[in-house]
Symmetry: C2
Subunit: 349 residues, 2 copies
């Protein structure tokens, strides 16, 4: 491979001069610029990223750590980040954790070895102990997305989780539902904790006491949501509506409904959080609490870039974005439902 030295001899100038024209870091005469550029394209020179990074102490690399790129929400976020970063002259490493804290630590280590200039961390555990281990491992500008880890000095960008729950529960309760199943996420994840807490508050506000048997945790996992819903439906007095904490879990719930021969919204109503790209092709078209995902992603990467540039120091603050209820066809009034007596408990299995 050609090096900067080859360019220098070909153009008949010093190495440092070539560097100056490449980076426009010092004044160079028109004449020399032309010669150097000619030499560069003549021998097909491409700077060596690692050498640049080593010497300049700036890798121009950004790490993105997320639960699962297979989830359309995260892949969309990753694309936004990639695009913005590329424009700013940064490359991105995107890595999946599957929400496994140990794996997450490993990835963090790899990113630090690459001396990333900054990181975006999505949806990790958020208990204090994990927070401390995280902080020990991170010492690079970082912003948290879609989750809030306590006791960190890092900025966080999230949905207004409490409002999201309220939107869903108010809607369902407004339709007359009193037995509302909640397919929640994973304990210790802030998204889960906050949504769950305000779910209970919203239910209470409608005079509905906590019904522990209707609240199941499915770890933000599609298959677990499927199984949890099967269990919910097998209850002697099953819920008339279900609120699922994520898009993938909503899919799990829907699969459980078709497997059990339930029709939505005739037999049961459904609300999820997180929208889908093509709701028209789903059966039924689901009512969801949507989030301004693209804007959130843009704000996140802008915050990180500003912090890296040293323009804005980390404030440790949290920025909330407002959710929105999108009503489609997966909910019906509780009064219009066929009486629960008429329906048999799901066949034993």
């Amino acid at each position: 491979m050609a090096t900067i030295k080859d360019v220098a001899v070909k153009a008949g100038v010093a190495i440092s001069t070539v560097s100056a024209v490449i980076n426009r870091s010092a004044p160079v005469s028109e004449d020399v610029i032309a010669r150097v550029e000619a030499a560069i394209s003549a021998i097909g020179y491409l700077p060596h990223g690692a050498a640049k990074a080593l010497r300049s102490g700036n890798s121009r690399l950004i790490g993105v750590i997320l639960p699962d790129i297979t989830n359309p929400f995260f892949s969309m976020v990753a694309r936004v980040i990639e695009t913005v970063c590329m424009k700013a002259g940064y490359m991105t490493f995107v890595y999946n954790t599957d929400e496994d804290p140990q794996h997450e630590m490993h990835i963090l280590r790899m990113m630090r070895m690459q001396r990333v200039a900054g990181m975006i961390l999505i949806s990790t555990r958020s208990d204090a102990e994990h927070g401390r281990r995280l902080m020990a491992e991170i010492n690079v500008p970082t912003v948290l997305f879609s989750s809030a880890v306590p006791v960190t000095p890092y900025d966080a960008i999230t949905l207004d989780e409490r409002k999201a729950s309220r939107l869903a529960i108010d809607y369902l309760a407004g339709l007359g539902h009193r037995r509302i199943g909640v397919v929640s996420g994973r304990p210790l994840v802030s998204t889960h904790e906050e949504r769950l807490e305000s779910c209970l508050e919203a239910l209470a506000a409608h005079g509905i006491p906590p019904q522990p048997d209707l609240i199941v945790a499915a770890n933000f996992d599609q298959q677990q949501a499927f199984e949890a819903t099967r269990a919910l439906l097998a209850l002697p007095d099953p819920p008339t509506a279900i609120f699922a904490f994520s898009n993938l879990m909503l899919i799990g719930v829907m699969r459980a409904l078709v497997t059990s021969g339930r029709s939505c919204p005739r037999d049961i109503s459904l609300v999820g959080v997180g929208d889908f790209d093509w709701p028209e092709i789903m059966n039924p078209q689901v009512t969801v609490v949507s989030m301004p995902a693209a804007q959130m992603a843009e704000f996140t990467i802008a915050t990180l870039l500003a912090e890296i540039a040293g323009k804005r120091p980390p404030t440790g603050k949290r920025t909330l974005f407002p959710p929105e209820l999108i009503v489609r066809a997966s909910c019906a009034s509780a009064e219009l439902m066929p009486s629960q007596k008429r329906r048999q408990p799901a066949r034993a299995e």
Copy 2:
């Protein structure tokens, strides 16, 4: 940040000795190993990736270039690659091209600046001119996935595209369909060209002459497939079945059906290529030609890793994987369809 030198002084040994214990690249006494390891964890030393890469000439980086990570097919492939690479001690750069050749070239350049050890290139244009430009830019072990560029020395892993078309057309023709719409991809992409060619062959084998007005190209794009389908449905004599060349385009077709008030499979039958994760929640559940995506991805990365390790030189050969027809509920016998006379042409717009 701590350097290897700090470790060396802390452990009271030479720098080269520390390097030897980190990389197990030379015999070191138990005693010294212990001292060095203690020093490493004491000061929290992490090797500097760029320095390693620069000196050793091995970045341990692999580039993955794909059209769009948002497409579930590609995100799944990316995950498989990430996992396998991580086990082999490589990190991955995943980048989106949106099938834009110019952007693709730019990404290629960035990857070469990072001195990636190898690349996986997915679904690019495959005409000879682009192939030449590509070859000028690439000089690193590479394997092509899901597309074949002619005149390259690189291995390619693809579906057996001809069989995929045959499976779909045989099935549809077997149901009695004679007017079969084809929502194809993008000219110059091998996947498109081969599928289209064998579509025509398969149609001919069933005594169906080419019907140019029923064949539309939608660039593998969901929205374009939507529009193309609208046009197809507005034809005086619309098709009774549609074959879409990709998962996303199939979604576009389905959206067009919904928007036009067509019911599938009553009014029109549908086959796509590429399966969906949760077909149960779709309306209707689609019949598709599926591909063994995970196995293909594993084979691809294994091939690349072997080539990087120098175990297997690039053969320039192409490996085909067999597609499979998965029959679900989106196709009906042409004879059972309401007569086409009874149906009005789609309302003008």
